[in-house]
Amino acid sequence: MTKIPDAEALLPRLVAELKVRVTPATAMIGLHTGGAWLAERLHPLLGLKEPLGLMDIAFYRDDYAKEGLKHDPKRTRIPFEVEGREILLVDDVLYTGRTVRAALNELFDYGRPKSITLVVLADRGGRQLPIAAQYCGAQVDVPEGMRLRLRRAANGRLALELERAA
């Protein structure tokens, strides 16, 4: 039986670790949908000057030829200049690394950031690209054929859940 950590319990340590590295040039971007939920929780606790940016990487995916366009791409909204910023890129679960690859490509179409730091709630291993998270809430073993997802309850509470992969 795999032990799934409590998402809420992982937040305080992530916030504490991130706080010490925030500078006036730091800005945050959350990846739709789970990463955006996580970023919406982290952002107000870090006292960042810039409003939160949200990104949907649908137009940068590498499986379009196989899968087509996903059904409800959200609009990417980055309400600050990316140029010269220290970007905290936030996602819920790090797995193959392909979503992050797509996000890096999209981000560079907005400008040249000073740096990009990857922040995730959970790392389930299984990387297919040379990508790593600098800040990670927990390492989670996920059984074959399952996927790890972040859920947000009506009251805003976040929870990690296992479900059968499609």
């Binding site: 087509g68 409800d72 791409p73 609009r75 907005y110």
Partner: protein, 320 residues
Amino acid sequence: MPRSFPHNPQLNANGELQHLLSIEGLPREILIQILDTAESFAGVTEREVKKVPLLRGKSVFNLFFEASTRTRTTFEIAAKRLSADVINLNVAVSSQSKGESLLDTVANLSAMQADVFVVRHGSSGAPYLIARHVKPHEHVINAGDGRHAHPTQGLLDLFTIRHYKKDFARLTVAIVGDVLHSRVARSLIHGLTTLGAPEVRVIGPQTLLPARVETLGVRVFHDVRAGLKDCDVVVMLRLQNERMNGALLPSAQEFFKHYGLTADKLALAKPDAIVMHPGPMNRGVEIDSSVADGPHSVILPQVTFGIAVRMAVMSIVAGN
């Protein structure tokens, strides 16, 4: 071998959009999918780098058998912003004039590895004919066929209305002028009724309204003042001189006097009404300059939205 279409020729076996031929017959969910996707692309078109890598390596052939500047250009821009390779063929002056048949032209382009055909043709139904004969990985987008349909214009009109009015549920929309010759009007009426606009009106002289137009679910007005009363959206149509054979109208001046949109006629609509026009405009024929350039006009935003809508349509069909 021509493939047969058991159901809707626009949809594949999974019910996904394979070709865009007409708004008529498209389920509400697909219209919403296109509008939502276009909303995301509208964000891309506002960036400094107005390009995404989605259709990299794909070839889009613009096949225009009938002249068009705006539609062809916006399709070209949309394809380029999706990183596709775009090939513009002004077929009116090439193969067709040498006697090549429509399907031979398409077969030749298909042999050049096409992925998407954007087709404008003077004959209604030409894009359907092409869609029936292309290979499974090839997609056809209707960019206007005869008097029949102009679905991407209809979609960008719907996108514009939703952008300014948020919701179709309480809207009164008036479509004014030469409905008879307008493929734009037909596409828009189908879209509005599918998305639940409660009242769509067509306004024009009897000679410029199609017979039995009310069967499309619209209210018919011949008096423009009565028709414009309390409208949220006013869509002016171009008086299509090039499509008129025979005397349907006494004169353009006479038409302007009765049906041309002026500030005093527009005052009958709601105070926050928007004015749309698919272009190209005939100033002083169907619309007065003071209205075309006035605060209610969203005619130029329509053009901008048209790029995002065409990006959405191309990326959805090419992925299915």
